[in-house]
């Protein structure tokens, strides 16, 4: 008997209002605008939802996540993480508004007995987060296309092909809210004199946020100290 085709969830997470933190949502918006997928593939703008995403994850055999990730790499670097490393990593130095870290959401899916068989995290190292109402920085925006290519290639390995649309979908057809799509969002931004964009002094001084100095070492350390990898 032929096996049923795997169910796929392509999820963009993050907050579009904090500059590069919006990478995940922007990537999945773009993927939806330019490509169509066979049945069984769901594209989702997860925003900053935490527990509310658990049901979508439970239904997926293959999970692809786009997100801004603090890898401790040069800003704008795209990096793929697969399999067991994904939850371990997402739970560590996560920049997010999520009420529950994504690691916890994955653990909840596992507790309910459903866990994706294949996981891919497509993350980009943010350039700027401290810009309220700002959009993606050019280096990060430039990683959208390679990020989509990486997702398509990964799915291709499972025989799932995303087809280029004849023409990109119009703004109204976005999977997200059309009021916040990237072009609309960027064009409607007020001037800096009108609306202050910077914030917390603690983040603007030398003590501002930074990632692990050595990503690989950090992953090693995490895998060594946590249950699953050990």
């Amino acid at each position: 008997m032929p096996e049923a085709p795997p169910r796929v969830l392509i999820l963009g997470i993050g907050n579009v209002m904090w500059a590069d933190e919006g990478f995940g949502v922007r990537a999945v918006e773009e993927l939806h605008r330019h490509f169509e997928f066979p049945d069984g593939v769901r594209l989702l703008d997860g925003g900053t939802q935490g527990i509310y995403l658990v049901q979508y994850i439970r239904e997926a055999d293959i999970l692809v996540v786009f997100d801004a990730v603090d890898y401790g790499l040069p800003p704008g670097t795209l990096k793929l993480v697969e399999g067991d490393e994904v939850p371990k990593f997402l739970g560590v130095k996560k920049i997010s508004l999520h009420q529950t870290g994504f690691q916890e959401v994955l653990a909840m899916a596992e507790m309910l007995g459903d866990y994706p068989r294949h996981l891919l995290l497509i993350g980009v190292q943010p350039v700027e987060l401290d810009d309220y109402g700002g959009s993606l920085r050019p280096q990060v925006k430039a990683q959208i296309a390679p990020a989509l290519a990486a997702a398509l290639q990964f799915l291709d390995g499972f025989g799932i092909r995303g087809q280029s649309r004849a023409a990109p979908l119009p703004v109204e057809a976005t999977i997200s809210t059309s009021e916040t799509t990237m072009g609309h969002y960027e064009d409607g931004r007020p001037d800096e004199e009108v609306a202050l964009r910077i914030g917390d002094a603690r983040l603007l001084t030398d003590g501002r946020w930074s990632g692990p100095g050595d990503f690989e070492a950090e992953i090693e350390r995490i895998l060594a100290t946590s249950g699953r990898g050990a």
């Binding site: 509310y52 009021e179 609306a195």
Partner: protein, 599 residues
């Protein structure tokens, strides 16, 4: 200086050990809490602070008011729809736009759906672990658990010993794999946990059932809002069209098939809340009814704006099915009317907040609100501006402003709504509260506690589940009578707008009274101010020295172990705090353990 009397009746003593919890975990956003405990481990001073800057208002300046809802619902992951609804109401109020009856029913169903969803997920997944010990559940006898289930929730079908044994085995595997997942970071040996193993196992089982069930609740909002996971809203009504004979397809209007699905979800929600959630509250409450700390301002000063208009476009208290009004100075005999337009009622103060006002002795009404950051630490701060070890609460110490109602610090949220409703003699609320008190065998005073706050949330979920059904029937009746209108687009075109207008929109968000004040000038947003529930509850001191609801609720609580602040988390979590919109969140968040420092 060591002992200060606050005008709202607290004696603050900042001698003794200082305990710092940063961040407070399992909440949305960043929050830090510092308390002083005396030699008997009793909290004698409490300082709660939002540690990140809030940037919401400045993002909206100059934008199209019709789009504001989409921005505000991105502020955080839990109140999405409530912010959106508040925003469209503010714009409709400013432009004097009325909405059709169907839109009112659909909005109410969506708002109630979010209310129930949030309450359920809050209790089981963000708060239960302050009362329930999953590690202790491993010691439970499945037979005893089954007996407890049948005794407390007899109508719940999942009650066999075998069922509980399976769950226990799954839990055991999880714990033995070294991966506690959501159950990590707990203080599982702390004597503050009072449940016997079988109650712990029953509650953990329902934690899993609720995780599974909550997805159904959301489908209602997806059907009416059209999109996962951020539903669409519309100034002037709701964006979904109704065509009862329409085909079921993506983007298709609301038809009979979809409405039937919603009807099923509503019924199953009532079932789950009444057969699982409420019985769990009674079961857990019966073991904790001697632990009645955490009342804070709830028996003194509470505030509710009201919500769920019965008829469309009438936001007066008599037409709002959720109670509205203010109680001050503990006078439960008098519920005062609340007017969000009155410049003397709601005001925000900043003498202890990291903002500047031209004159910080005065509060500002939100229509005249200013959001000008000013990060400055007091002279007695320990640490540096980038690494604070101990805050100086005599100076500015929080990114949360201090909203006051006629000068009073107020508690908002399910308990505030239930206290106001009870004081007004709201028959449904009175019935629910009296039954719960009787079931637990406790007096009315017990309501004013952390446990009371947690119970009020459950009762409100039950109330909301039934009101969903009420509005569903109303919607169907109206459609059958031939009205399929869902939006009024008469004034959607900005060319029809006056040059300058202002408005206010309000709702009762799951965690409390929420309002947005908007000024529109030349068709663009000129000023947008949100006073959110956690701004009320988590507010720092004001210029008179009144402490806010979080701070008040921690006062005089005994902690078992200063280095394991279970009691602090239990009480703060009982407010369902959401710091994401009350402050701005930025920086490393992650799953870091709350750092608890005792000095």
């Amino acid at each position: 200086m060591s002992v200060i009397q606050t005008p709202n009746g607290y004696s603050l003593d900042n001698r003794g050990q200082r305990v710092v919890v940063d961040p407070v975990t399992r909440i949305e956003g960043h929050m830090r809490c510092e308390v002083n405990v005396d030699a008997d481990n009793i909290i004698r001073n409490a300082v709660s602070t939002g540690t990140m800057w809030r940037g919401l208002e400045v993002i909206l300046k100059g934008r199209d008011p019709r789009d504001a809802w989409a921005f505000v619902q991105r502020i955080c992951g839990v109140c999405t729809g409530t912010h959106a609804l508040t925003s469209v109401r503010a714009v409709e109020d400013a432009l004097k736009i009325s909405i059709p009856d169907n839109a009112n029913s659909i909005r109410n169903i969506m708002q109630l759906s979010l209310q129930i969803h949030d309450h359920l997920v809050h209790f089981y997944h963000l708060h239960a672990l302050d009362w329930v010990n999953p590690v202790n559940a491993l010691k439970a006898d499945p037979k005893a658990t089954s007996a407890l289930q049948i005794a407390t929730g007899p109508n719940h079908p999942k009650s066999s010993p075998g069922y509980f044994r399976d769950v226990q085995n799954r839990l055991k595997k999880f714990v033995e794999s070294g991966q506690l997942g959501p159950f990590k970071n707990g203080y599982w040996t702390n004597p503050a946990y009072l449940l016997p193993p079988e109650a712990d196992l029953m509650a953990v089982t329902h934690y899993l059932e609720a995780l599974d069930f909550q997805k159904e609740i959301m489908t209602t909002r997806t059907i009416f809002g059209g999109k996962d996971t951020h539903p669409n809203w519309l100034v002037g009504g709701v964006p979904c069209a109704i065509n009862m004979d329409g085909e079921l397809a993506a983007g298709a209007p609301i038809n009979m098939e979809r409405l039937n699905y919603v009807a099923g979800v509503i019924d199953r929600t009532i079932d789950f809340v009444e057969n699982v959630y409420i019985p769990d509250i009674i079961a857990i409450g019966s073991f904790y009814k001697g632990w009645l700390y955490g009342g804070g301002l709830s028996g003194k000063s509470v505030l509710a704006y009201g919500d769920i208009p019965d008829r469309a476009n009438d936001y007066s208290p008599k037409n709002l099915m959720m109670p509205s009004g203010a109680i001050i100075n503990g006078n439960l005999k008098e519920v005062l009317p609340v007017d969000l337009r009155d410049p003397d009622q709601v005001q925000e103060f900043v003498p202890h907040s990291w903002y500047s006002y031209p004159d910080e002795k005065k509060g500002l009404h939100p229509w005249d609100g200013i959001t000008e950051p000013n990060y400055k630490l007091g002279a007695k701060t320990i640490g540096t501006s980038t690494n604070i070890q101990q805050l100086d609460e005599s100076a500015k110490y929080s990114w949360i402003k201090a909203p006051r109602w006629r000068g009073h610090a107020m508690e908002v949220g399910p308990l505030a709504r239930y206290v106001v409703g009870y004081a007004q003699g709201h028959p449904e609320i009175k019935d629910q509260v009296d039954k719960t008190l009787a079931a637990l065998g406790v007096p009315l005073e017990a309501l004013f506690s952390t446990l009371g706050r947690t119970a009020a949330r459950a009762l409100e979920a039950q109330w909301s589940a039934h009101k969903q059904k009420y509005f569903f029937k109303k919607l169907i009746a109206n459609i059958k009578a031939g009205d399929s209108s869902t939006a009024n687009t008469e004034k959607f075109d900005p060319r029809t707008w006056p040059k300058e207008v202002k408005g206010v929109g309000f709702t009762e968000a799951p965690r409390g009274a929420l309002a947005h004040w908007i000024r529109i000038k030349d068709t663009r947003i000129d000023n947008y101010q949100c006073v959110v529930p956690t701004t009320w509850n988590g507010s720092p001191r004001d210029n008179e020295g009144n402490i806010g609801a979080f701070e008040a609720s921690l006062m005089n609580t005994k902690v078992e172990r200063a280095e394991e602040p279970v009691e602090i988390l239990r009480t703060i979590h009982s407010f369902d705090p959401c710091l994401a919109c009350s402050t701005h969140v930025m920086g490393p968040d992650g799953e870091e353990l709350a750092v608890v420092k005792v000095r």
